[in-house]
Symmetry: C2
Subunit: 272 residues, 2 copies
């Protein structure tokens, strides 16, 4: 454990407080954010992002400079129930009061759901072993008025059984480049999908996908492809073709950001 006295910019009363690494679970309504990632275009006002807003609040609450590292760089308009992030700080605030201290300074569309102290080498990005996304489709013909930015309004008929047949074909270890937007810039495009299913929630249909990681836009393209299967424009076997050829042109369109939720991220440290 590093001692804070070595740190720059700490108020005097914090100089004997040890620096700890904290892990946050963060929920947000992404509608009014330009995604997670801090963006400060040159010569312009910084854009409102979750990382930007949350980091600025943490700096204010902890009264020291710090960097917030988030596991997933969710896009503009994408929501989260279980984004995970870490930061280092020397703080006298008791752990059980920390979430409240942060939330009382946050705007209403983002909330810290939990704060824990973690090991000094915990890394929210590289330690993540599993992520679950949920995509919400509003199925009624009438509009989702108050929740229109939380779902995708898709009311055309869909054959659920076909969609689940296709979803099952996604499970396994594959090259998923055919389900990603160009320019994702990662070396390996092989990922393991642990689960993929379509759930009937009455007025809503949910597509749930769990994997050890995803490429850029993979979940939204997978949803767009499953929709094409549900409306019988694609056969379920189209999934096998996309995985075998890695050809993006065989997949469906990218579903809109509004329906996408980052639900949970797992780490080796977790109990359950």
């Amino acid at each position: 454990m590093t001692n804070a006295s070595a740190e720059e910019g700490l108020p005097h009363f914090l100089r004997d407080v040890p620096v700890r690494r904290y892990r946050l679970t963060v929920a947000y309504d992404g509608a009014d954010f330009f995604g997670w990632q801090k963006q400060e275009p040159k010569g312009q006002e910084p854009m409102r992002t979750v990382q930007g807003v949350l980091e600025a609040t943490l700096i204010r609450v902890m009264r020291q400079p710090l960097n917030l590292v988030g596991a997933s760089r969710t896009d503009s308009g994408v929501h989260a129930e279980g984004q995970t992030a870490h930061f280092d700080a020397a703080s006298p605030i008791p752990l059980e009061r920390m979430a409240h201290a942060i939330n009382s300074k946050l705007p209403g569309d983002v909330e810290v759901r939990s704060v824990t102290e973690t090991r000094p080498d915990f890394d929210a990005i590289s330690d993540a072993i599993r992520k679950r996304y949920r995509y919400r489709l509003h199925r009624l013909a009438s509009r989702p008025l108050g929740t229109r930015k939380l779902v995708w309004h898709y009311w055309e008929p869909l054959e659920l059984q076909h969609m689940n047949d296709a979803a099952t074909r996604l499970v396994g270890t594959h090259d998923i480049e055919g389900l990603s937007s160009a320019g994702h810039g990662r070396e390996s495009t092989v990922r393991t999908i642990f689960a993929c299913r379509v759930e009937d929630h009455g007025d809503e249909l949910h597509v749930v996908i769990e994997g050890d990681g995803f490429l850029y836009n993979t979940v939204r393209i997978a949803v767009g492809t499953l929709i094409e299967v549900g409306r019988r424009r694609f056969e379920p076997a189209r999934i096998d073709e996309i995985l075998a050829t890695a050809d993006r042109r065989l997949a469906g369109p990218t579903a809109p950001a509004s329906g996408l939720w980052l639900e949970r991220i797992w780490y080796p440290d977790d109990e359950s």
Copy 2:
């Protein structure tokens, strides 16, 4: 039935179409509206109101000048599932396609749920015989992130039984001036409350009130008063005192607009 040929401003192809009176049921998310009522402050941009947006759309779809009359002038931030309105127009659009024609030109936070042709003397305001409002309280300590503008986040403990005891005392024909904001400007302040109850919906608590009419802010003040009963600051009998004395100072605070929903309006013309 008036013939449209007598009307001003009609395009030529509508001159033989009879003028009819239409009744609309309208739903909206009130968060981004300055209430129902059209507002065009002198020398300023018109404010975005539901009546303003909907009337402008109707004029565009019907291709003629018209006036939209709404039953309830809901306040800024208040929502509706069943606002009712009427207007006169000469239109060749078949009735069954009219809602779709209007909705396709409306923004995402307002929707026409039904259009019917009604009698020429139907009046959405003066013919209303019963209105139901619903007030939604979010009861979890964690924030209502995506729905924060649709509810009131009130997570302190509340005794439901006491609240329902108080709610029952509101039912009947009373002078309800003690449950209204000053300056409502109506002659009689006697109204009949047909039903008032507190419903447990799990993560939410709903206060439902039905009456033949309400004064300004009555529902929000009634909810604020029931909350004070639920947290044991008031006894349920406080309701009797407010009704007997018509003294606003005995009632609770005005609950915020965000949780209020105009759910339904009844007319003598209705079947059920």
